[in-house]
Symmetry: C2
Amino acid sequence: MCASGSSTVTEDSSWTGVRDRLRARGLRWTPQRRTLIEVLSHADGHVTGAELVERCRELDATTTPSTVYRTLDVLEELGLLRHSHGADGREEFHVQPEAAHGHLHCIGCGTTWEIGADEAAALVGSLERRRGFAVDLSHLSIAGRCATCSAALGDQD
Amino acid sequence: MCASGSSTVTEDSSWTGVRDRLRARGLRWTPQRRTLIEVLSHADGHVTGAELVERCRELDATTTPSTVYRTLDVLEELGLLRHSHGADGREEFHVQPEAAHGHLHCIGCGTTWEIGADEAAALVGSLERRRGFAVDLSHLSIAGRCATCSAALGDQD
DNA sequence: ACGGATATCGCAACGGGTTGCGTTAACGAC
DNA sequence: GTCGTTAACGCAACCCGTTGCGATATCCGT
């Protein structure tokens, strides 16, 4: 729904150029990679590694986990995606990192929200100033309790 | 420094009372749990689950991972420890949570630093104000690049 | 179109952690 | 001390992700 750009979108989101970007680096364009790119080009937002493997298997039943994970690593090096770890420690991939953003995860209800650069500014700025530490926002995952769950705790517990 | 209380500390850090706290809840005091408590009472700071299993095995070669992890869950419920996930998503346990603190992990050199409530105040306060979200500081792990590694990148890359 | 260099594949095994289930044993009651 | 209840144990299997290695196939030069 509403890919940010041209009107007739044929799923061009840098994915079309991947083949050449790989080759330019001496890397190869294989059927397995094509499959994963296909999957990724239809994924928006966040996906776990296992989900990606699953979806690849739908397109090509012979898909192997190791190949998928290895290709994900390559694509991350190319900057086409980023990964972080959810509240449970599992991998979560961010496709098409148009804007770096972190995540907020409520341990009460399990809901996840995105937080943008503006909201994280306080944290990022503070660490940058005090330590010279450059926060990788896209890898940031913060756990806690959302307003609703906090209130619920206050009420009944 | 300054274990909150008596002067001569014989590793009494709530560990001594665990047995009774368990029983008070209808839970049981078993040799396996005793072993884990023994290990925990000598661990300070951060340990991974695997490390704890390892150390338990040193005391009791028959130790089983599942038992250790299950007991860790119980102890966490009792508030005797907390766990978070490192940059690689692996579990990390914080023993004797005297003061909640988060972690900073440099993806360049791999070093980890603790950040206290004061340093996280900016973040915590901002999210609290804007969303009513109560951050679980002890579960917070921030990835990025430390001053040194950032500088190195600027120089040569 | 062919052939060589080597990136990638697929397999199998591993590592950390979790889960289901039948068996054992801790604990409270008598 | 004995007994019954049931928490906890240990095993085996699983899940997600990673790694080593021999086999395959992509790509480049000719």
